[in-house]
């Protein structure tokens, strides 16, 4: 099986989500050709992650409709029957279009390897798993970020220039506002997240949350009431109507754990709950818990991490 993996790049390097997609395809037993559109240094890390070859188109395409044309053309040129892309911001816009162009069945946000024509994905906000059968010969899947590791045992891949008719641009990017001035990892990609809710009593108390996050090398998040009251920006809201995350470690302080909140975080590998109320629903979803006041527990945890080194 030949797989064409679409690998997004940033500053010439493949993104972590992109490399996860490459390693995923390799683990599915495919011979992997990575496709990179935009600036690329070397093989961007794709070879180590499992790609045998990198196809590179240097044009800085911003319209995902154009990128999809290039991906579909590359898949055809390579004779690929499987296309994998990360289920990140860009993959979510590119992959559905590729599926239509190729006449392929598509499963978004997979959480298991493709076995024959069957693959797993989470549904009902992580409350169930669906085994989905892809009925078409050509298949498209997108990989849930942070659900699969990145292999590093491959060798550097050869890079070949690739050209395809991308068509006309219908979408242009006019500007970018960074939400992580401090350079922290964006929430959907974060491996560790420290989150806080109404128990913090006001935005002026977020210092203790940020200090713990810094000590843990984590990204900060918040509950819906906190973003609705304007204590924290909307992009930090994790939960049903905010963003869904899947970090290795999710620490929630002063968040009771309403079902809508859990829907956004219940796929985290390890959940730590800190709450004054021992009956808070979050303890039922958590792996570790401390019954106590966030104002006392968070600084103690920060100090413990620093002391233990």
């Amino acid at each position: 099986m030949i797989c064409l993996t679409f690998v997004p790049v940033k500053n010439g390097q493949a993104t972590k989500a992109g490399l996860e997609a490459v390693s995923y395809a390799k683990q599915c037993g495919a011979t992997v050709t990575a496709l990179v559109v935009g600036e690329l240094n070397g093989d961007g890390g794709a070879g180590a992650a499992g790609a045998s070859k990198v196809l590179h188109m240097g044009d800085n395409l911003q319209d995902e409709g154009q990128i999809a044309r290039v991906v579909a053309a590359a898949a055809e040129a390579e004779g690929a029957t499987l296309v994998v892309a990360p289920h990140d911001h860009i993959g979510r816009a590119v992959a559905p279009r590729v599926a239509v162009r190729m006449g392929a069945g598509m499963v978004p946000g997979v959480t298991g390897l493709l076995q024959g024509s069957e693959v797993k994905k989470n549904v009902f906000s992580g409350k169930a798993v669906a085994h989905v059968n892809i009925e078409t010969d050509k298949k498209v899947v997108t990989t849930t970020p942070n659900a699969f590791g990145v292999a590093s045992d491959g060798t550097a891949a050869s890079v070949e220039a690739f050209a395809a008719d991308a068509g006309e641009a219908r979408l242009t990017v006019k500007g970018f506002e960074s939400s992580s001035e401090d350079g922290s990892v964006p929430l959907p990609e974060a491996v560790r997240v420290v989150s806080a809710g109404r128990g913090l009593k006001g935005p002026e108390h977020w210092g203790i949350v940020e200090e713990l996050a810094q000590a843990m090398q984590a990204t900060t998040a918040c509950s819906r009431p906190v973003s609705d009251m304007g204590w924290r920006p909307h992009h930090e809201h994790v939960g049903q109507t905010g963003i869904t995350i899947r970090p290795d470690l999710y620490v929630a302080a002063g968040i009771s754990g309403a079902i809508q909140h859990l829907a956004g975080v219940n796929q985290s590998k390890v959940i730590v709950a800190i709450n004054t109320d021992p009956e808070a629903p979050l303890f039922k979803a958590a792996d570790y818990g401390i019954v106590g006041d966030a104002f006392e527990v968070l600084p103690k945890l920060t100090a413990a991490i620093k002391t233990l080194g």
Binding site: P8, T15, D63, E64, G65, H89, I90, R92, A93, P96, R97, V100, R101, G105, M106, P108, K121, N122, V123, F124, G126, K127, A128, V129, A130, H131, V132, N133, I134, E135, T136, R170, L171, V173, K174, F176, E177, S179, P188, R192, H234, H235, Q240, T241, T244, D248, L249, K269, V270, F283, K284, Y288, I290, G292, E296, V297, L301, A304, I305, T307
Partner: protein, 246 residues
């Protein structure tokens, strides 16, 4: 300006999730269905706001059987002008998208809006597929949307921040949190919705790419290990040595 808003029904967030028929079908028994929140709160309300600004019509489109009608009526009560329901049980995203695109092609819409994903399948695929089938621009995960000088202007979620983008019309937009504020239908809206047109059309042009073989529930979560408030270093140790996540 003609707006088309894709409306899907979804089980209420607090629903008990269970399956029937050999774990191949969602057990809808006793489940309260709602308008998918992203479709209702963001996509529909922003379409109504843009119509109030620019004039035009807001039509909703739903792929589903007659049990979707209460959800469609709610969208009409919130303010949509008319509704279309494609009479089919949606099988997968490709099926839903192909049925919607088949009708959208004939409608000459300037802006097609959908929620960023449904809360049952969590796919976020239909919008992109419809855009490709209509050969239109697609703005995914938009948190704002304006129409100016025949172009769509939006901010959308991107890695590490927000991107400002501009797209030509017709455009397909998937709506995320921030695009609009939820509107609660008032009594007048609910009364008016009863007599607004809800056109039921047969399914045409549908293709399917995938099928659910079976559903299963995730393994039960183990007990929460409690750590004393006076022993934070114990929690740090557990996270490092037992869970290996720190």
């Amino acid at each position: 300006m003609k707006f088309l808003v894709c409306i899907s029904k979804a089980p209420d967030t607090t629903s008990r999730i269970a399956f029937t028929e050999g774990d191949t079908q969602f057990d809808a028994n006793g489940v309260q269905f709602i308008v998918n929140p992203y479709d209702e709160w963001y996509a529909l309300v922003r379409a109504l706001e843009l119509k109030e600004q620019h004039g035009g019509t807001v039509t909703t489109i739903t792929v589903g059987e007659a049990d979707c009608d209460p959800v469609v009526r709610k969208a009409l009560a919130i303010g949509a002008d008319d509704a279309m329901r494609i009479d089919a049980n949606p099988q997968d995203a490709l099926h839903t998208a192909s049925l919607i695109a088949h009708h959208a092609k004939q409608g000459g819409y300037d802006v097609v809006l959908c929620g960023k994903e449904t809360i049952d399948h969590n796919g976020s695929v239909v919008g992109g597929m419809v855009a490709e089938m209509l050969d239109a621009a697609y703005i995914s995960l938009a948190i704002s949307l304006d129409i100016d000088g025949g172009k769509a202007q939006a901010k959308r979620e991107a890695s590490g921040g927000l991107e400002a983008v501009e797209a030509t019309l017709p455009v397909v937009v998937s709506a995320a949190k921030g695009m609009a504020e939820q509107r609660i239908p008032n009594m007048r809206g609910i009364m008016a919705a009863r007599s607004k047109p809800l056109k039921v059309v047969p399914a045409e042009g549908g293709v399917q790419g995938t099928a659910v073989a079976k559903f299963e529930l995730p393994p039960a979560k183990g007990d929460c290990k409690m750590v004393s408030v006076d022993a934070p270093e114990e929690l740090v140790r557990l996270l490092r040595e037992e869970a290996k996540v720190l």
